[in-house]
Subunit: 384 residues, 4 copies
């Protein structure tokens, strides 16, 4: 298989997530960056592109220009897919145009600015039949894959309780007023949409809960707050959850937990046992049993599920982290594109989040905001 050729929208100088996408794409030697529109400022776009070792004629001023021009290049030159790493309000435009121009798409989360955009995007993905990946990074970890396997094979029995917590502290003070661009767009309804923290990290938590358990959230009861004066969007929130099988849960997401780094963790309890996973200690999956010792399953140790093993690169005890989890999504996306080209079905073991997870995320945000601002105890979150 030849390397896939990647184009990038966003990710210019000062961006964090652009470089992450690029490193993740490079790691497994399946993908190479060939072009990009890195900033709405042409000068910054140019300088950023050179940092990525791109020739000037593949550095564009904006995504529309890029898509138009790349489309005209010969197949062996032009990009094969577009990665979108811009703020939320700038996902839908490039995603739509790329898909409609025949390019596959990798998009950061939350998928779109609104649920309405998400539903429109779903239609486009369906119509074009192209591959669409959403970078809910955390489901790329081998121990998350294994957790899902443990539950789907019934080892915990019927699931009763899910606790998921995503705590960060970097928005504890109004950093958006002192030049932090990451904070600025996330706290601005014009670029972020109807939520800040729930969109930025809460959707990861909700996605993780549904992914690991295989369950669907059916009702939410939320309390969102903006603690830092001057903010119009939430910087903290907690949500009571009800799942389709009767399980109950709590999701808490916050960016004002002063002193927390990126503390995403999940606990799930079934009739027979429980499990626990912490993103900051990602190579350990804790299994808890009523009458026997707690087990620490470790990446690479013993005979794990296929799902865990094919997402692991190095032997046990050589820690794999965030970039490797991210790279798993890119690797699987690349395999799906390969299968697409060969007219084959993708191997379900090499899974990655896509349009359906994006819809779930946007629906979650809409319902959580509705719940938080209303006086009804429960708001339904039906599948759409």
């Amino acid at each position: 298989m030849k390397k896939l050729k990647m184009g990038l929208v966003g990710g210019g100088k000062g961006s964090f997530i652009g470089k992450v996408h690029h490193m993740a794409a490079l790691l497994d030697n399946h993908i190479t960056l060939v072009c990009g529109a890195f900033s709405h400022n042409p000068e910054i776009s140019k300088l950023s592109g050179r940092d990525y070792h791109l020739p000037d004629d593949r550095i564009y001023e904006n995504y529309a220009d890029m898509i138009c021009k790349e489309k005209k290049l010969s197949e062996d030159l032009r990009m094969d897919f577009l990665s979108i790493v811009t703020p939320n309000n700038l996902h839908f435009g490039p995603a739509r145009m790329a898909l409609e121009s025949g390019f596959h798409v990798v998009c950061d989360k939350p998928m779109t600015f609104s649920l309405q955009e998400a539903l429109a995007l779903k239609q486009i993905v369906r119509d074009t039949g192209l591959i669409f990946a959403l970078t809910h990074t955390y489901t790329g970890y081998p121990m998350v894959k294994h957790a899902r396997h443990i539950i789907s094979t019934g080892q915990l029995g019927n699931i009763r309780k899910v606790l998921v917590e995503y705590a960060q502290g970097w928005l504890s003070t109004p950093v958006e007023k002192t030049g932090n661009k990451q904070a600025a767009w996330r706290t601005d309804p014009k670029s972020a949409g109807i939520t800040c923290t729930m969109g930025d990290v809460g959707t990861h938590a909700a996605n993780l809960a549904e992914y690991i358990t295989g369950l669907t959230i059916t009702q939410v009861c939320a309390d969102l707050t903006a603690f830092v004066p001057g903010r119009s969007l939430d910087d903290d929130g907690s949500v009571l959850l009800r799942f389709d099988n009767g399980a109950r849960g709590v999701l808490t997401a916050s960016q004002i937990c002063a002193g927390e780094e990126n503390a995403l963790k999940i606990q799930v309890y079934g009739e027979k046992g429980g499990l626990e996973w912490h993103q900051m200690d990602p190579n350990t999956l804790i299994l808890k049993w009523p009458d026997r010792p707690k087990e620490m399953i470790r990446t690479g140790v013993g005979q794990l599920s296929d799902a865990a093993m094919i997402h692991t690169r190095v032997p046990a005890g050589h820690p794999e982290g965030y970039l490797e989890a991210f790279a798993n999504i890119y690797r699987n996306f690349a395999l799906a594109v390969k299968a697409y080209r060969e007219g084959k079905s993708p191997n379900p073991l090499y899974d990655f989040p896509g349009i359906e997870e994006g819809i779930r995320g946007m629906l979650f945000l809409e319902k959580v905001v509705e719940s938080s601002s209303g006086m009804n105890k429960w708001v339904d979150m039906k599948k759409i």
Copy 2:
């Protein structure tokens, strides 16, 4: 000071908590057990009393008999206080009779069967002026005392978020049907009252949150569940919390978290930093700061608050645990009785939970049950 003489109601053979009260009372050499009514079965009461090295004439058939007869003994013989370690429905009776007979009281939690009983008991405590202690054990840990000190001295700034979780797994299956007496009375509304899990462990969690933060819960939004078929009372529940200063929180309490032992933990975040404490690792208090290393405060290391230091017995690195925390409550209770006798005010550093904490607990239970069964989002929990 002469040793205080203790009487015990409950705690017969097969009881767990009776022995715990006794060991906790003995540890510091301030208290000696002199009498007891250990079981409603006279034979078991007698055998139990002998296990405690009591002479037969101080082993009673029931609490009423004990209180009557002890009262008639000379002061140097008769018990000084009564410890009540019976099921919830048998707290109020002996507490009232003991207080009205001039005996101080130590009572297990939740304080009473109902809020109504709690309010009546408060009146009796007030009228008699005697010492009343409620064994919310977990506030007896030195690191909990220190956590309270950290917050009350403003080191975390204004508190914004409180997450408290109390997870056990021992009620994951219907053990109440297979001879587990501890489970039987807790799951039976006749002995437990309006809740099982919220009363048994949820009140500890609520007490801990209010104790450490110094805040008052003002509103609750609860979702209680009975997962195990055949139960009429909750074995699991989660509650969104609002506090008097505007802080938000989540309390989750469960006894169906299969594989969990006695996992009480709390995280508190303020404007300046956060703290975390786990009951199962009680000698460590984690402080988290936005821009500097996390600190692990340890029992006995360095210059801690007076509140932490006076509740510590052995040097750093020699772990103190549950019995020592429990003993701190008994030791402080003993000091309060001593102060009472000497007509002095008790030293507030040597604090312990009492009638007010009991009222808060019973109010919490009433409001949580009301919330869970209603459709209003928030139920007020005003101070009474």
Copy 3:
């Protein structure tokens, strides 16, 4: 069974270990303190005795006086056994006199001032047939008992490697010169003997290694150092170990590991798996296996060995600590005294360290000092 009556030598005001012995003795309600000679200063002895609630006529000026006078009391009054909590040079005298006067003995470690004294004491114990306990506290923990069970039942296979580390930091600076009495006698050859740190903590480590593995150290190669200027005895040392089955090991003991509290830990590896235990997290025993998850065995969880279960007081998740481990030694000693009186053999499950462990400890010290000061690589440590 009536309570055993305890006498105490040492443990006056300012002592740490005296109170620990007392609390440990009280905890299980088998023992009561009846007399003591708490200090060579009569006034301090008197005041200390009153703190222990003793009447003045049972507070003595010195151990010889106490033993003489107690011996003359009637059996229902006089002490049953003597606990010795003085510096090393003051162990042999009271132990000998007590035993020769018919009193059982509990003695702190290291057992004596010299190996010669140890051997003499062994003869006296043998001749009198009385019960002698040595407070190597750490073998009193339930998870240590269970570790020994795991190995003795062959679950790890033949043992190959033992790593034991005991790190403290409190002697990092010359605190013996600034009024720290604990440091003063330990760093003084007149009271401590031929070593400081190896005697104070190294013997615990060696005892733990032999206890858990059931192996015997046969050769040592040691490097002892006095880091703090002015010290004539070691404050740090490391020892290569060889065991009777061919296993190898390392023991490191230090009191200049600045920042360490009381960090005793052990790792043992056999052909089939390994185990790890940390004194500062005593209720967890980690089992490691080549091809399956690491297991965290926890005090009170599931069906553990009898040895673990009978040394546990409270349910899982209610941490037991140092005092409880210490109390296990006193409880088992009390049961051995009871069996002695009844002419029965003590139950080997209720074991405790005694004269043999004391001999091993003193031999270890002598050989380690010999090795450290010589140029031969290996020094034999044959059983005597």
Copy 4:
């Protein structure tokens, strides 16, 4: 800067470390693989090269052929440096030829088959003036860089004690007899040299100790063992260490610690405090202080040393692992090559292990083996 062009010797199908070198080289987009001789089997070499997306004319049958032919290519095509990932006995040959042909070299450790080869290689590196990197991966972690900074800036005071432990379990059974190629060459003196485990992991431990402390090991006293029947080389060993400033230490390295993954950890104690780092939890550096809380320094949190910050790619809480540490070595090597080309001195902050560390490692192996087989207590390990 244009991307550096990399050639690879070894790393064919079935190799672990070849892919690791490649991923590490790719991650930062400074390096691209252009050629390789992946196996002594030409067919396997060809298939392996295609896996790396190489054209057939850049896949060679052996390193000599590769170096000859690459040398004849134009500068914009030919490789810039050679990475050597073969067994120990096949390091010196390709390293010498590459250097003498004008190619920079990255070499896996231990550097050579013997100390003699190492000294010869040092002369070649000196003569050619080319860049030589040795992949002691673990010094590439940001928290290791920071640990070195903490000590070099005197924050722990004069160093007294160093404990370094490297425990693996994968050689607990004779896997070399059942087709494990990694085990086969490591346990074979013809390919591994005079040691197995000390060379494979012990040198990492020794390198880490010297790197972090800035001290030099001056004396060793070792006990090496081959536990698994049939082995002629060590699979386990422990070494007492003495350092040039008077510090003492212990190094233990083992591959028969059944159940261990890749457990490299180090503890260092100075007069003022201590530090601890675990490779399997690499983003945490623990600082211990005598009279204040333990601090957990975390990758990316707060203002760390420049050395830590420039070796970190993603924000705090997004774990970086082994591949990122490895990539730091490649990134720094690439910067050194760039500086070389520009005639500049490399920036010492962007350091990486090189020929001197290789000499130290080989000297360590020679002295440890000498010590283990002799009867003198101490063997000198003087700088050469």
